[in-house]
Subunit: 486 residues, 2 copies
């Protein structure tokens, strides 16, 4: 069975010339029409939820529900088979049982389908060798026909910019549109990150659940996203990779052009074993993974939260030119928490240029911390002083990035509106990462406005803000050190 | 100046017998009446915000605004001095300038005031030696009169259970009442943690900003909270401690009785220097701190987020009897992320008892992960199966704690309500830490209900849920290993 799988992969479309491969990926993610093979109007069927995702997600192309037993599904005429759709189907979303997949794939190939999302589970991840045989069979059909396949054993994929929700979770359409592309080996982690993004108001460009990776693996996705003009940050959740060399090569080609962030689980004994049975891949050897990731310029992250925080910063902030950070804080404590993270992770809490320091000394009373970090607290009542401090630090050539930390107090309620104009007009000429926090509902709207205008990128704790700045610098540094070929 | 301070401390009321000291602390935090010395009706004065905190926070005792120039403040008759209040003042909140503090303190002592919150800044934290002199002067007055003082250089303190908001931030009254007591050396961090608590719906028993610690330091607070029946978890934010021995002794006395969690910043060069000037204490030597913390049974935390997560778990979950954890998940990926954290931090992903495993094998199809961790995904449509799995794992003697991870999908919308009855009736006979996440608004209310009923403690990511379980075990293990004298 292992040999079978290897062979199927060798024949895979991913070894075709790069040009046509990328075109087929584009077609897969941007179909003019979609068929749901196994569409249903029964809420206990996945085919029901997929139809809901497509119809409610705002997809503008034609939708073909395919189900031989139905006349109409969700107000749309149903078709008995994909062949009956008269060659009009670009993308087929397949939710029929595993044993029917080979016939469906043959039909799709014959009908000129350009891409398949195979949601069905029960292939090589199960103990029954029959699952592996079907996997090989449909891989051969897809590869011969040059059809890229997302799945099997996946929730699907969502191209948010195209309003295409080809998944069994209609709620993914609630994720804001953005420039972060998520490619994940786990449906659970994809859902988690999607819901976290909703709660963080973070925008995604697409969400792709690779599942068992019939012929679209991390390597193919990275190559595709590297050239995708709408993708600014590539985010990967990895459990195990079959063809590590192909992946590392693909990543190396992107090195320095776009950040690739990877969160790989399975560091322990249990995760290792679970990954093997979960997606049928050879996981394990965590250290080997992270070493080759580093060589390929991939930034590894160690939690879902850090992963999204880094993606948020890299999608919305410029890169610092160097490791020199200024910490401006409305209160001393948060600045210490931020400085600890910066210093532990290779950023420098730099010394200000003499002119900057003179200005700050003029604007702050002697009872404040006036060197870096700067405790602006004693000047909270003086909007002009606060603005003067921020402005002089922005202009300081020693400063590569600014951390701005402000906690609400009743007496400083107007502090955010007082500096909004300055921050908006400056538009992060250097990265401006903030942790501005208030009781719910007081500053939230103002912060969203500042983020939307590109004035800053905000995080809920000083440590997470500092860590985001660290990750901006990690990417910049990696890019500096990348081979000249880039 | 150093010698002066030392002397003032040696004379301090904290060296009195334990009994009266604790009584005075009780009086400080539970006054029958409060005077605001420096009360104001001008929003640009701290005395305005303190008055707002007191009057809007629901405080039931009498409030005396003290301001010689005012007739009435916020509808309350103003008094020209604390002496004019006829000996009726239990607690004085002082917001007059530093140079007026000695006179005010003498008046308070003469008027029989039982406790002082000194919000004013500008004492020993400033470069001017005059600040240090005033500090010593008022310390002597307070110590001679046996008056415990919170501050100077603090936002104040909030006894949430008494509806007493003695701070310049009225919004602190929005924090839910609970059993976590926060004692902090930074106003900024206190505000941050308070706002985080509001957003996490976490309940606090009190929030105390120690400031420059005239005569109430961490040692006194820990001793008081150790005996406070309403405090279940003691949370400390520390920058530097003057009298480390007193603190360690106080903590050692609590060892194993109540968890003490400490987050100490100033690990780097900058934080060290900042701490010195910020609160006038000898910070630094981070390694020495953490070593003595460990010996005193204090659990050190490394971020504000981990600190609150651990406090949440310890305030609401029972302790695990051992390190054996079961991971039950609706999807495989999140369980791997959780297992990685557990394994790295000393928890065991145990093997189930044979009977448990047989039951699970009966309830799950072979295409699931059925040993620990358990991927319950394939049984999502079968509420009885899910309940059967959870029940058998609850009953397994090998299992000391359960991690329950569930991501929403359109098809499992009823999953939470399906298990609510079981979880509520079980009432965490072992710790049940969960990461149950949905798009905003779908499961949030149900999760809050489960938390309120004591059925589980929920966290927003699998890693944070696992880390909370780790911290429950850290406390239990420390307690087991604590000297028999406890």
């Amino acid at each position: 069975m292992r040999a079978n799988r290897k062979m199927a992969q060798k024949k895979g479309w991913s070894f075709m010339d790069k040009g046509p491969q990328l075109n087929r990926m584009k077609e897969l993610f941007n179909p003019g029409s979609v068929a749901v093979i196994g569409a249903s109007d029964k809420p206990d069927k996945l085919g029901f939820h997929v139809m809901k995702s497509l119809t409610r997600g705002g997809y503008a192309g034609r939708i073909f529900p395919v189900n031989p037993g139905a006349g109409e599904i969700m107000g749309l005429r149903a078709f008995p088979s994909v062949s009956a759709c008269n060659g009009c189907v670009d993308l087929a979303i397949v939710v029929v049982p595993a044993n029917r997949a080979p016939d469906v794939f043959r039909e799709c190939a014959a009908a000129g389908v350009k891409g398949i999302v195979l949601i069905t589970a029960g292939f090589k991840e199960i103990d029954d060798p029959g699952g592996g045989r079907i996997h090989s069979e449909i891989a051969a059909i897809a590869n011969d026909a040059g059809i890229p396949v997302i799945g099997p054993n996946t929730f699907g994929m969502i191209n948010l910019l195209a309003d295409l929700n080809a998944s069994f979770t209609p709620e993914f359409s609630l994720v804001r549109k953005g420039s972060i592309a998520l490619v994940s080996q786990s449906g659970g982690i994809s859902h988690l990150l999607g819901f976290m993004a909703m709660r963080m108001d973070l925008g995604f460009r697409m969400i792709v659940g690779l599942g068992n990776r019939l012929n679209v693996d991390f390597a193919e996705m990275v190559a595709f996203l590297a050239d995708d003009p709408d993708t600014r940050v590539i985010v990967l959740y990895i459990e195990g990779i079959d063809d590590a060399a192909a992946f590392v090569n693909a990543a190396r080609n992107v090195m320095g052009r776009k950040p690739i962030l990877a969160y790989k689980t399975g560091t322990g004994r249990v995760g290792d074993a679970a990954s093997r049975s979960h997606t049928g891949s050879l996981a394990g050897r965590h250290a080997i993974y992270t070493a080759s990731f580093a060589q390929a310029g991939i930034l590894t992250m160690d939690t879902t939260e850090t992963l999204l925080d880094a993606a948020k910063a890299l999608s919305a902030a410029p890169l610092p030119a160097g490791p020199g950070v200024a910490v401006l804080s409305g209160q001393a404590g948060p600045s210490m928490a931020a400085c600890d993270v910066c210093e532990a992770e290779g950023l420098d809490i730099i010394r200000f240029a003499p002119r900057t320091q003179e200005t700050i000394n003029r604007l702050l009373p002697p009872l404040a911390l006036r060197t870096n970090p700067v405790d602006m607290g004693p000047a909270w009542y003086d909007a002009a002083a606060i603005k003067g401090i921020i402005q002089t630090v922005m202009d300081d050539g020693n400063v590569d990035g600014i951390l701005l930390l402000m906690m609400f107090a009743s007496a400083n309620r107007d502090a955010v509106s007082g500096i909004s104009g300055l921050l908006k007009s400056w538009r992060q000429r250097k990265p401006l990462i903030s942790c501005i926090v208030s009781p719910p509902g007081i500053w939230d709207e103002a912060i969203r406005g500042l983020e939307a205008s590109g004035a800053l990128v905000n995080f809920p704790t000083p440590e997470r803000a500092a860590q985001a700045m660290v990750n901006l610098w990690r990417f910049r540094k990696m890019r500096q050190e990348a081979p000249a070929a880039q």
